[in-house]
Amino acid sequence: MDKVKNGPREQLERVVLGPLVRTGKGYRLLVGGLVLVVLWALFAYSTQLRDGLIVTGMRDRILWGFYIILFVFFIGISHAGTLISAILRVVKAQWRTPVTRMAEFITVVALSVGGLMPMLDLGRPDRIPNLVLFGRWQSPILWDVLSISTYLTGSIIYLYLPLIPDLAICRDRLGNEVPGWKRWFFRVASVGWQGTARQKKLLSIALASMMVLIIPVAVSVHTVVSWIFAMTLREPWNSTVFGAYFVAGAIFSGIAAIILVMAVLRRAFHLEAYITHKHFINLGYMLGGFTLIMMYFNVSEYVVTGYKMAGETSFHFVQLMVREYAPFFWLYTIGGMVLPGLIILFPKTRTFTGVLVAAGLVLVGMWMERFIIVVAGLRVPLMPYDPSWYVPTWVEWSIMAGAFAMFGLVIAVFSKLFPVISIWEVAEQYEEHEVKEAPALGRSLPATGSLRMEPTSEPPAEGADHGPGGTR
């Protein structure tokens, strides 16, 4: 990867490093808007700090609401990144290369935002240190604290390792184009990377270990998140399948999040040459596969409970299927699983736009799913009274808006500090093709072969699971 002086490599660097140097008006506007939303959310939270959780819609019957929904939602999205990028690395899926960096970004950011949510849910946030000082391992909450902090640490390492060579590229290429503090940052953060054989070997060992280690950690995280629910004596959550259901749902929503964030960054930073429609289609296939898994889980869950109609579960079943929460439930099942599944299934709709629509539907659907699990689950009365209601207040709406704004904001800031595409990995892959190309083997190229296409070129929508058209 050292001294390739040909066009594509330099063009790649120019495109990917561009945003680190130049900042457009649109970016400033976006960041300004996001900051305003976050500030508003902080104001909303300050009223909660002053008056207590009484300013929320949560009461002693339905005592979890938006905060816990967002917690599960963002932790779910975080699975996008590390898990997907690790799985793709492990199975050596070549097309992953330009995607992994963004996926890993999303993981770190979503984990940070998601991890913040339960803290907002506390009556006494000033006592958070008690979790460390007096933590007890009997409590599923401590399992969460442990697994999420492990996952966050692991994801930061996993994001950082493949960043090192890129940071070195930034250090070497971006001289006086960037302010001094950024130069300092690149110098320190690239930890003396020179691309020597030994350094490369160490990096590849580290990456290989991390990508294997991070998978069980990621799986454990969402399993433990599900246990927060499943470990309590609440009938609708009394399910041994909850762990697997949550892990699948997490990856499902994670893929959708990657697709959307990727589409935004691709547009904003003009990465059309590197992130092609094929990447979206491939992620669309993964999304489509997961709709089947999710549907299977739902069928197993609701056919069993609906057949028995025992006690409190029958109340839950009825409120989901036909009563109060039926709109949410059907929006989730039809809108969030069946429809995206069909969009991916038919070649006609399996296009760039189609995949984006499917991803958006999945994200909305999965938010609904978490709403159903948390709020509708808690609504099942423990006591023989009329079931209570959860109506979120303006504080909770504001904090939800703030959480999404924060997610966007951190990604926006990250995109100015780090290359959003792994330059060295893409370049390395490009070189491999150069070598392979020489004997003119007729083998299908990995997707990044499209790296040499013009920015406007797109692989054909049909048969997109093969290499870019032309080589076959």
């Binding site: 009556g123 979790l131 009274y385």
Partner: protein, 271 residues
Amino acid sequence: MGITRRSFLRRAAVVLAGVAAAGAGWSYLKGLAQSANEAPDQAASLPSAPVQQRTPQPHHWAFVVDTTKCIGCGKCVAACKEENNVPEDPHFNRTWVERYVIDEQGEAYVDSPDAGVHGFESWPVNSKYQNIQVVKSFFVSKLCNQCENPPCVQVCPVGATYKTEDGVILVNRSRCIGCRYCIQACPYGARFLDPNLRVADKCTWCYHRISKGMDPACVEVCPVGARMFGDPADPDSAVAKALRENRISVLKPNLGTRPQVFYIGLDQEVR
């Protein structure tokens, strides 16, 4: 290339300094948390009894509710609120009284207006449940069951809720972080988040009274003796007698929580 000894030593020194700083921060936090524990605890705003008077005797307390005697006057709820500084807001209660009304079809209607603190006189059954033919009606008072296997203690992340040697579940208000997981874990709806202190709260069987040999406030004021408290090991106690002479049951026995509040004459509709 690589790391020279000098740079290694320099970096190691930085790391060590970081660890030392983290340690210092840790002990600072620990100090903070300890001082928080020493801070005046509202739970202990009891007349400061000499220590020897509060000996945790080898008791194992039990509570008996005779639902056949309860008249739904709500004096127990009022006494509890006064004795334990429970917020006046009817949403927050350490004990409450439920009214069960069974109609001809065997349908059960349950209500607990203002937790029953004002009694049920001004809340006629039929104003809420129009056109039902009442077959039978009774009151059931509820409180923390002080379970032998308390799910709330199991899930508390910081050990703020705990079981005393004499079998009462208490909340350490100066440690509770207000995560409300215990409230969610309790299958009996016995817990709530204190809106002022923002920590979990629940019935303690008036631990400050029972540990001085007195009855809980609700037992003290009950005009019909529907609530009894004592140590079943003492054969002369009202509780031991009630447990001996009646057919008793507990709430939700299937959950395996082993409640220590025993009910006489519990109807199948009561959950």
